[in-house]
Structures are given as C-alpha cells and as structure tokens.
Symmetry: D2
Subunit: 135 residues, 4 copies
Amino acid sequence: MIMEITSEIQVRFADLDAYGHVNNAVYLSYLEIARVELIHDLFLKDMERNIQYLLIKVNLDYHQPIVLSDKVFVHCWWAETGKVKFKAAYRLHDGKGKTFATGYTEHALFDGNKKRIMRMPEEWKAFASTPSDVD
Amino acid sequence: MIMEITSEIQVRFADLDAYGHVNNAVYLSYLEIARVELIHDLFLKDMERNIQYLLIKVNLDYHQPIVLSDKVFVHCWWAETGKVKFKAAYRLHDGKGKTFATGYTEHALFDGNKKRIMRMPEEWKAFASTPSDVD
Amino acid sequence: MIMEITSEIQVRFADLDAYGHVNNAVYLSYLEIARVELIHDLFLKDMERNIQYLLIKVNLDYHQPIVLSDKVFVHCWWAETGKVKFKAAYRLHDGKGKTFATGYTEHALFDGNKKRIMRMPEEWKAFASTPSDVD
Amino acid sequence: MIMEITSEIQVRFADLDAYGHVNNAVYLSYLEIARVELIHDLFLKDMERNIQYLLIKVNLDYHQPIVLSDKVFVHCWWAETGKVKFKAAYRLHDGKGKTFATGYTEHALFDGNKKRIMRMPEEWKAFASTPSDVD
C-alpha cells in the first residue's frame, strides 16, 4: 500500500524570524501538517479515543532557507512500522526542483487511558512504502 | 483584594518576525503568560475540572516595537468581574518607563462537562482591583 | 475601489492549545495571513524599500472556538485610510454561516530609513471600501 | 575553554498543543533560547554585521512529554567546531533528574553581504568543550 502525500503549506508572515527566513522550529510544524494530513482519519479517530501520537525523534537536514515568497510543499511518506514505533520521512521542496529540507520523524502511540505506550497495530505493517518519484 | 502581578517575559528569537520585532500575535501570548500566572492555582484547578477560561475579547494598543535586546514585563491586573465574564488589564513595559502596549482582555468560563458558559463565581467579585502605581 | 479578500486558512495542529481550540494569539496570525494577501504586492514592495506596516491596535471579538476539523476563512477588507494610519476589518467564519471572530486592526507605516512614521500615501484613500455581503 | 550554559525556560500555555504537552516544534525554540544565550554577544554582534547563524541540522530525541506545571531547563554546550559548521548539544531536563529530550544541532555562518557560507573563525576552535556533569 502506498502511503504518501504532498501537502502545500500556507507560509505565514509570522513563520519568519528576524533573519527573514522561516524559523527552524516552524519546519516541524510543516512536517506535522503533512503527517496529520497523511494519517488524517486515523489521527482524529485516535484523538477521540485518547490515543496520542507522540513524536520521539526528529532528524532534519536544512538545505535552503525558506522566504515568504517561496511556494512550499511537504512530500511525506510512511517509511517504516516497527514494534512500538513508526517512522515518517519528508522532503520539503518548492515544486520546481529546489529542496528546502529532508529528514524523518519517529513516533510512538500512547494510550492515554492505560497510560502506556502501545504496540503498533498489526495492520499498520502494510503502510510502509517506498515513495514514488513524483512529488 | 489586590489582584495584580508583574511577570517578566522570556523573549525568544522565534518571537521576532521579519521586521526584527516581536510579532503582533506573540503579544497575546505575553498577556497570557501574565494572566495565567495571576490566576495560576485557580486556572490549573479548573483545567483539571474541565472548566475552560475562554478569551472572548482582546483590545490592545501597540505603542513601541519590542526587539530582542528589550527587557519585557507584563503588569496584569484583574479589572472587573461581571455576571458571565471577567476582564483583565495589561501594561507591557521595559521596567524603566517605556510602554510597549496597553489593553485588556475579557474572558468567559466554559463548563466542558455541561457544555455551557458558566456564571462567574460569587467570590470572584472580590478580585476586582485598581492596580497599584508601582510596576 | 473594492479592497477585500477571503483567505482560506490552513489550520495547524500546533495552532491548538491544551483546550483543543486554536489558541487566541494564533487568531492574529490568521488576520495577518488575510491582510498580507489583501495588500500582497504593496507589502512585499514596501518590505524591500524598508517600509514596515506596524500594527498599532487590535480589537477582536471571539465568538466561537475553532477546532482542528473546522474550515476557517478570513474575510478581510480595507475599512479606512486616515492621515497616519489605516484600518482593516475582519470576519472569521466557516463558510457556512458560523462566525468565529470579528474585529479590526489599525496600522501605521514606519519608514525604516528615516526612522519615522509616514503619512498615508494619498492614493490609498481610494482603498476604503464597504465590504460586499458575499464571503 | 568551557562553553556551556543552563537556561531556564518560561513555558507558555500557548506552547502546549491539543495533547496538553508542549508541542514538538516548540522544543526547537527552547534549544534556540539556550543557544542564543550561550553565544549571546557573538550572536547579536554578528546580527548587526549581517552574519546569520543558519541551522543546517537538528537531531533530537524526545524522552518525556513536557506539561505546563513542569520546570524546564536546557543544558546547552558547544560540542564541536568544524571547517564550515559548528555543533551544539543539548539536554532538556527538570533539574531533578528527569530528562525531557537530548540532541544536537549543527549550524553554518552565512555572510549576508557576500551571500555565501563562511569558514568558521579560527578562534572558535577553542569553544569546543566537554560539558561538566553538573546541570
């Protein structure tokens, strides 16, 4: 099963910092926008059931600053399903060949009712995918 | 009863926008820091009881931009308790006579269990205060 | 001349606070998104010329909390051009009759080269408009 | 030369997301607060000279969620000075033995006048340090 998405980001003036670039912390919000869109229905359903998708690791390389006039897309794909975590991978780009950042995040599921980390659902194994080449 | 507080704000590089000033939206977070500190125990206790302090109005005048090297204090005082709302007032300043902003916010209490706006607790009437002159 | 726009906002998970609502400060970023879109070319051209659009006042009424699943539009229109400030007005809504917030902001132009507030350009008088009824 | 610092973070209600935890993106702002404090004078001086400290990599492990009532400290130390980048390392903790996150960031210097990445200043070699054990 191919689990991937490309989300266009609405860059906000407030995302910029005093350098005139999108602040480094905001990139993680951009990843989150795409990731939440990728798993949207699961995410909302689990939020209602009090299951939280906790970020446990981020590894991100910043290649080019993003300025207000840039178009920004996040290509996000499900990279791996482990026993107690899953991994999502990302490429931020402008849709025309410029790459802003690449990286991945790892996540665990926290059962807010039982107050403990959950094992990954068996059916999630099928999510792991090699992304297509087309953004 | 005098209900007022002066909170010192930790200005973050990420609070700045491309103008090199603290972004206008961030001022509301500064108000919130002082307000939450003012009513800290009530606020946390009510959060646990699923009572939310909803902002219903903000009126803020921006006098001077804030830059990274500024010291920023928020003088916050409880201005009024009405039947279904309370009002907090603010002065943002540098501790040495420069005023960054002045204004007020109004809030209602939302009972998350009963899904409705609450009347103000009777004992909150006593909170209304005229602020002291000393910041 | 009709100066108005309706911008659709990309609501981010990070915009929410612990109440599960879009945090009150983030509303000002939503206003800014629409305002920057309304005056986009002027804004970018003036940014290059080191002319800054300073927010000097915000007055916003919050009617309904915004949650992650809401669609959010900002109807923004140029309300008034004064001697040294202009005023923009806003309605945040869901496109189906629910209003999240209404209000206005006032702005001055700061000439970063001469380090002083500017008079409003004469031709901006024409911007003032009564908004259409259609969002 | 020992280059390290421990900054106490002022956690804001707006830092929390709908899970009631500090949002993952905000951690990068916490790192930035400590990093800017560590190299404060250099940073401000270079900002005036139009030299920008660009983040080029972040690698962060999240161990424990941060809630509003947590005290948060960032222990930040200068880990390495390379030819064209420097590395800072971090531990976020509560001052009493609980670790919230650990990781590092890498940075390059961008000369905004010459529009190019700079070599690291020779004297920065001395900054590299093994942190002390005491937070």
